[in-house]
Amino acid sequence: MQKIVRKKQLNPEISLIEFEAKDLAIAANPGQFVILRVNETGERFPLTIYDFNCEKGTVTVVCQAIGVSTKKLCALNEGDSILDVVGPLGHATKVKNIGKVICIGGGVGTAEAYPIAKAMQREGNDVEVIIGSRIKDLIICEQEIREFCDKVYVTTDDGSHGRKGFVTDVLRELLQKDTYDMVFAIGPLIMMKMVCEMTKARSIRTLVSLNSIMIDGTGMCGGCRIQYSGEAKFTCVDGPEFDGHLVDFNDVMLRQERYKSKEKSALDHYEKQCRIGLK
């Protein structure tokens, strides 16, 4: 049981949740993830570690309430406990000085792009950040990013904040004007796919972070496997970061859909129970 010490609603859909987990905080590194199970009937699902504090012994995740599991987590409050948290899992991001870097965060992925961008900046890289979401209310971490970075570009699909359009529109312009050594892209699969297509044409190394459907997170079930340069790789133990140019995104996107209809009926069941006051 991990007690929640801080909860902050970043916007109507996305919550920041900080919980006690001393050993986990000490072992954690940027880019790694945890697997959570909120209650006894809950699923095991992965979330990237957003922040960790060794002195306080806490770990922070950012969660967008979309399905049953994420809604259950976001329904918890300060003082409540998460039943199970296991981690840190996966490999950490290799933060090195490589030169000019673009970090791209889409939607809730911005919460994962932020600590990487900050670490890259601290390491002496020249960092530019592009963040985007559907509407203004869903933009997160903008202030935090502006605190350490003066080249921040914001996009919304409807133009309600920053410029109207997609993060890839900004990326295209940046790539036309200048040369870059590396791109990090974390967000929806379709966004990462489009980014990779652009950067591949210019041979700019691009890292993406995949958030596949998982159970154990230790390589035991193989459910998170992806096609990577013609080979099967497990996101949980071989990733979660991969060279985006070698990922078969069409395959990853199809696999991510494999419980779509079940996820919907699970959500209906959960919301019905909430309505009649069972949960």
């Binding site: 159970i215 390589g219 099967a232 696999r255």
Partner: protein
């Protein structure tokens, strides 16, 4: 043995054999010749005094019977259900030479179940309070780790198990289905082990949250690695990444650990179609096939590359699977899986085999027959062809000697090339049986005791 009717049981996850009642158990126990030589005991990796516990049953001293078993075996209700007795104790029974051997497995199960039902669980003496002042870390709460920890606790050591998942039992919990091994029974037996003073820390992936070196710094004096065979093999054929293709590990974990058979009451989903093929011939394949049937598949096939004679599954499991209507495609090997544009499985293409010369395992090697390809309509394919060694922890232990296949090199006592590290179960042998893993746990507990007494 009385069992649930096959027509009924394929609609539920309740246990299949009912187990002996008292009269049946006494009658079966009375058949035992009580031979002087006790050949059956030689066949038991858990070193149970088999004639003695059977004698106690025949005299209706059920309490004494379970005490005899528990002297050496901490998981009797589990072993009585899942051990391949026909290859072990029962194989050596003198009665088996001319007739039917004593049903030792079911008698063991009877004793264990009798205790669960009739006795308020005895308060243990909690001997594992570290009287000997030494701490042992056990990595993995499967059959091997639980056995080793229990034996160490009985000797007076402080034993702490670090488990990666949120529940104990390893394969007993995530792998073997409810209808073959009810989870309540696993939890009850694990609780008995906890009462010995064993501490289990869940959600702890050693190698990630802490290294063995870190645990050494924290004061652990010896280590037992029992992480199991946790890396599913795939066949490497076309179409294996389609959405309807599961590793048996994933399929069974969703069903057993995460209770997908109770979806949507439980949140974890599983996909089931009309036609399901399970590739493989071991217990894991039978378990997967029988789960698939209970989840509502119309047709479930076992696809195995050799014949029934070479199948590694327990005879009981093959028998149960057939009774339930699972169809066996023997001497058949998958070539590719064909899907549609939504990545759904549509067809499984196989080739027929004939048996050739024996291979390293002594079993006759399957040889494909040219031009014998055939295809079957399929919605789900489950790959149950075995597991390799999971490198996650082993990669973090500097200097630990591994085999070419990535298993830990250890002697019969579980000693690795590093003095304070012992190992046992599937991580050493490759995928084997629950009872072999338990036997290794016992041996290592003794070896660790010797090491710590030095």
């Amino acid at each position: 043995m009385r069992e649930q009717d096959p027509k009924e049981r394929i609609k539920n996850f309740n246990e299949v054999p009912y187990g002996y009642n008292e009269d049946e158990a006494v009658a079966e126990a009375s058949r035992c010749l009580q031979c002087k030589k006790q050949p059956c005991v030689n066949g038991c990796p858990a070193e149970i005094d088999i004639p003695a516990f059977i004698k106690a049953i025949s005299e209706k001293h059920f309490d004494e019977s379970i005490s005899i078993i528990k002297k050496t075996n901490n998981l009797p209700a589990v072993c009585g259900r899942v051990c391949p007795q026909e290859d072990q104790c029962e194989k050596l029974c003198i009665l088996g030479k001319k007739g039917i051997p004593i049903n030792i497995g079911n008698l063991e199960r009877f004793s264990a179940d009798w205790e669960l039902k009739n006795k308020s669980q005895k308060e243990n003496t909690a001997s594992g309070n570290g009287r000997k002042g030494k701490k042992v870390a056990i990595i993995g709460a499967g059959p091997s780790g639980l056995t080793c920890a229990a034996d160490l606790a009985k000797m007076g050591y402080s034993a702490t198990i670090f488990e990666a998942l949120h529940k104990p039992g390893g394969v007993l919990t995530y792998g073997i289905p409810e209808f073959r091994l009810p989870k309540d029974i696993v939890m009850t037996e694990v609780n008995e082990i906890k009462k010995l003073g064993v501490d289990i820390k869940y959600n702890n992936v050693i190698g990630r949250i802490k290294s063995i070196d870190k645990l050494r710094e924290e004061g652990f004096d010896a280590f037992f690695i029992s992480t199991g065979a946790g890396l599913p093999y795939f066949m490497g054929i076309e179409g294996e990444n389609l959405n309807g293709v599961y590793s048996a590990n994933e399929f069974l974990t969703r069903v057993n650990l995460m209770k997908a058979y109770k979806f949507p009451e439980y949140d974890t989903p599983i996909n089931i179609g009309k036609n399901i093929a399970v590739v493989g011939g071991g217990n894991v394949a039978m378990d997967s096939a029988r789960c698939a049937l209970r989840l509502g598949a119309e047709k479930v096939y076992i696809v195995y590359r050799r014949t029934e004679n070479e199948m590694p599954a327990r005879i009981d499991e093959i028998h149960h699977a057939k009774e339930e209507g699972i169809e066996f495609h023997l001497l058949a090997n998958p070539l590719k899986i064909i899907g549609n544009e939504k990545a759904e499985v549509k067809k499984l293409v196989c080739i027929k085999n004939k048996l050739g010369e024996p291979d390293d395992s002594g079993r006759r090697r399957p040889v494909p027959i040219e031009g014998s390809e055939f295809e079957m309509d399929m919605d789900i394919v489950i790959i149950a062809i075995g597991n390799g060694s999971n490198p996650l922890l082993l990669d973090t232990i500097k200097g630990l000697e591994l085999t070419r296949r990535g298993n830990i090199v250890a002697d019969d006592a579980g000693q690795t090339n590093i003095e304070d590290i012992f190992a046992g179960g599937d991580i050493v042998t490759g995928a084997a049986t629950v009872i072999a893993a338990m036997g290794a746990g016992k041996n290592s507990a003794r070896a660790i005791d010797n090491f710590l007494k030095r």
